[in-house]
Symmetry: C2
Subunit: 210 residues, 2 copies
């Protein structure tokens, strides 16, 4: 339980979570408005007043939930990180092999990004808001990735490579494949299965003829 408790502590410092359904609805309105504004105008050009105006709530209501804009932003990133992990985890529970986990995981990640295109922009902007957020985001993603990869290494499925390097290799691949086929291309025209198959071929056999 320790990690859940300490996670709760972090959460408590950035958001005051509502106890009623009505409060949750208000918080959701704030989040949705902030998300749209951060995506359209960027973090720095968005004020708390912009957010309360767009979500049609009183300025004081904002401060029931958040101390400031920075904490709202950090909470949004926590949500994204949680959503991405959930989108991937839900799909890979049935798969036992690491190969399937990677394949289905990449496919789930691309699908999440396809319907949440703003996430790249909002997440990567953290590099210009507070570099530590950007570092923390990928470092904690990497640590969880390594946990899973280590299990697969212990069962002999994953070869004896450095798992920190491997986790960044895999995150780099998903992110840049996502950039290309979700952000640069019209995602509707892309055969995601063919793209995922090509990536898996590289992850399985490497890029060289032998």
């Amino acid at each position: 339980m320790r990690s859940r408790e300490s996670k709760g502590d972090i959460l408590d410092t950035i958001v005051n979570l509502p106890k009623t359904k009505r409060g949750q609805k208000t918080l959701n309105k704030i989040l949705k408005a902030a998300e749209e504004l951060f995506y359209e105008k960027g973090y720095h050009s968005t004020s708390i007043i912009d957010i309360t105006n767009k979500s049609n709530i009183a300025l004081g209501t904002f401060y029931i939930y958040f101390k400031d804009k920075f904490n709202l932003y950090k909470y949004l990133l926590l949500i994204y990180s949680h959503e991405i992990r959930k989108a991937v985890a839900e799909k890979i529970t049935e798969s036992d092999s690491r190969y399937d986990k990677e394949k289905i995981g990449l496919y789930a990640f691309l699908n999440y990004m396809r319907v949440n295109k703003h996430v790249y922009n909002i997440l990567w902007e953290s590099l210009y808001i507070d570099k530590n957020i950007f570092v923390d985001y990928y470092e904690s993603f990497s640590l969880r990735y390594i946990e899973g990869l280590r299990k697969s290494q212990q069962t002999g499925e994953v070869s004896e490579v450095d798992l920190t390097v491997l986790s960044y290799v895999l995150m780099g691949i998903s992110n840049f494949i996502g950039l290309k086929y979700v952000m640069f291309e019209n995602a509707e025209d892309v055969d995601f299965e063919a793209v995922v198959d090509s990536v898996m071929d590289i992850l399985e056999n490497g890029m060289f003829n032998k």
Copy 2:
């Protein structure tokens, strides 16, 4: 010669290149000041006056070279893209095999980033300045990568994977390995050769035990 000519045309629209050594020196001062300011304060918070003040030149002198801040920014990115390609190309000319090209190329890229840490920030900020710049940067990098990969595919060194996917896989890997071992870690403490070896192992054999 066609590609060089059309490249010259693009260059002409964003910068008025000096014809004298003295002019080149002035332009370099502007570029250096802009680079430092964009890195420290970001593009939007940096004004042309900040740049001319820092480089100790008259405001009017700026306009001899650039129409506006946006063109200066685009020129900086062109320089980075050129420098990175040059840093890699210089090192890989002697290597005939695709394996060595990738290995030495990744090592050269990491070394370039190690001494030019600001490049990540300035380049990725383009996503928030003008998305097209960000897209163009990686798309043109990808196209050149594909050219080289296609040759190696024709000689049978590279397997029959989709080369667009492969180019983004390779760019994603270099970029995220660079993030981790240049931006997140203290690069001086990192054994780059060991990192590159791990990546090459994955590129050669894939990530799975067989």
